[in-house]
């Protein structure tokens, strides 16, 4: 999964993403007094952003290439399952990544 974008495109993404993120961070800190709080409708939507975005990011990485059982059970899926179990149990990034990597390599060895 190596990108085929050139340096200019990559740096453009870094700078644009950085400026936008800085603008989000600075928004209310800068405007305080004129705008004191997040509008309620936006606040309600933001509650569900992490769950939705993370799921949308992660799901394609584990989706089967075709709709057969053999194609669905991949080392990646088993590693992911181990990671979910660890995340549930520990809520810790380190343990989750460790469980997922071990799961991936054990499954690759066994399958």
């Amino acid at each position: 999964m190596a990108t085929s974008y050139g340096p200019l495109s990559i740096w453009a993404v870094i700078v644009a993403g950085g400026l936008a993120t800085f603008a989000i961070r600075l928004s209310f800190i800068h405007l305080f007094g004129r705008v004191d709080e997040v509008p309620p409708w936006l606040e309600r939507a933001l509650v569900y952003v992490p769950a939705a975005v993370l799921a949308a990011l992660v799901a394609p990485d584990f989706a089967p290439a075709s709709a057969t059982v053999e194609a669905a059970i991949t080392p990646e899926l088993l590693g992911g399952a181990a990671a979910v179990a660890a995340a549930w149990k520990t809520e810790d990034v380190l343990w989750t990544v460790a469980a997922g990597m071990v799961g991936l390599h054990v499954a690759r060895f066994l399958l």
Partner: protein, 253 residues
């Protein structure tokens, strides 16, 4: 020397140390994943310095590695970091006496952890009748995280370049997303948001520009709001993980 360090700054650094156990592996992954996705070491470290928000960095690296449209990459970074609007609004009153320049500096280093620790401290001040007026405590937390984040990224870059591809270290990226996703799914509406977003993203995987990701996220958020409005949000956590600890969904690092 020690007496010249403001006590609030020292408190901030001290309170941050236990968090580093979670930050260091995350930073290492950001470094490793950048190199694995074909970014140069300088670009990978540049991403950490310029954006300085872990989940969004990994999302950007993941999407660049898949050759997603550049606009989708930037839009995803924005969406992942939108939650910081809430932090900015919430902590703004405590920064209002600072100069514009110091406020801008404080904004640049705003993260989930710096927000959470500093706000707890400031609110605690009100109860105790003490005062942490200056931003020293906040900066103690935020700058410690910044330094460790950059150092961790550099180590990850060096390590990632030296490790053979068969170790599949790039797989750590979706694993970190899972580590952040599971605690974020704490009740029925957020479970619904995650399931629908994931399903739409998979179905839309063939769409041009990786638009499936954005469409999935938007439909997922709408699902969460709809379930919340239908009253499901008042139930107990019937969803996936997160045994009731709903702090900081999707932490920044």
């Amino acid at each position: 020397m020690d007496s010249r360090v403001p006590p609030d700054l020292r408190d901030g650094i001290r309170d941050t140390l236990p968090l580093l156990l979670g930050i260091v592996p995350f930073a290492l992954v950001a470094g490793v994943a950048g190199v694995e996705a074909g970014l140069t070491p300088l670009q990978t470290v540049g991403l950490s310095v310029v954006v300085f928000a872990g989940a969004s960095q990994l999302a950007a690296i993941d999407l660049l590695g898949r050759d997603a449209a550049l606009g989708v990459v930037v839009l995803t970074v924005v969406v992942v970091n939108l939650r910081m609007l809430m932090y900015s609004a919430s902590i703004a009153p405590y920064f209002r006496d600072l100069s514009a320049r110091v406020r801008a500096g404080c904004a640049y280093v705003l993260t989930d952890q710096a927000y959470a620790l500093a706000l707890a401290r400031y609110v605690g001040d009100r109860d105790r009748g003490t005062s942490t007026r200056r931003p020293y405590y906040y900066l103690g937390v935020a700058l410690t995280l910044w330094i460790v984040w950059q150092a961790g990224t550099v180590v990850g870059v060096v390590f990632g370049a030296a490790v053979p591809d068969s170790w599949r270290l790039g797989f750590a990226v979706p694993l970190v997303f899972l580590a952040l996703l599971v605690p974020a799914v704490s009740d029925a509406p957020s479970l619904g948001a995650a399931v629908v977003a994931g399903a739409v993203a998979v179905l839309g995987a063939g769409l041009p520009f990786n638009a499936g990701l954005i469409v999935g996220a938007v439909v997922g958020v709408a699902t969460g709001i709809a379930l919340d409005e239908s009253g499901l949000g008042n139930g107990d956590g019937s969803g996936g993980g997160g045994d009731g600890t709903d702090s900081d969904p999707a932490e920044g690092h």
